[in-house]
Symmetry: C2
Subunit: 93 residues, 2 copies
DNA sequence: TTATTATTTGCATTATTGTGCAAATATACA
DNA sequence: TGTATATTTGCACAATAATGCAAATAATAA
């Protein structure tokens, strides 16, 4: 989980919407459900999810023909807090 | 200080280098000093600093012909921690 | 098998962003 | 005044990234 990749992944409005949507749910949801939060094509949402997944922000579970995504809450929160700590002391890598 | 704008500002390798450079110093430094951390043109560094400033990540103080930049450590750290908390509970706006 | 549904991927296009150079601006000093 | 230094800005171009559509893949059911 690389800091810069995480920030890049979070630097797009649709991906933020997607993340918010996923965050607001208790259980994982499939691509179609996620796509409800933004107006772009479903294929675009699929790509955004892939970017979030590559950044380690979300994880995917395939069940049957559906893929369920959920947020890696602890890991993302930990990385943000670590970055916050680094900025407060001296170096923020 | 908008979350998405902050993430956008942090989503570039040179801006991360610049931020790291600024973070590693106790006192503010001018554009020329900041520019030492990356190989791009000084004018590019100036633009990157403007982006970081617009995002609220750094502040600028003009003294004479120089402009001294410093990181808004507390504010940035607070925003990152707030985002971390939002992600951990439910909604991450 | 075929059909249906969910998701991903190839491709072309558009939009955005980063970059370097030169010129402009701002400040200080001789 | 003119000159030197620090920074920003205009502009063109290159590099990245987002998007939509159609086709491909994967899994399930008739």
């Amino acid at each position: 989980m690389k800091t810069e990749q995480v920030f890049k992944a979070l630097a797009d409005p649709n991906r933020m919407k997607i993340l918010n949507n996923l965050c607001s749910r208790d259980c994982a949801c499939n691509v179609g459900e996620v796509a409800g939060c933004c107006t772009v094509d479903l294929s675009v949402v699929s790509r955004h999810l892939a970017i979030l997944k590559n950044a380690g922000i979300v994880s995917a579970d395939k069940r049957g023909k559906e893929v369920f995504y959920h947020v890696n809450r602890k890991e993302v929160a930990a990385l943000l807090r670590q970055t916050a700590a680094n900025i407060e002391k001296s170096c923020c890598s």
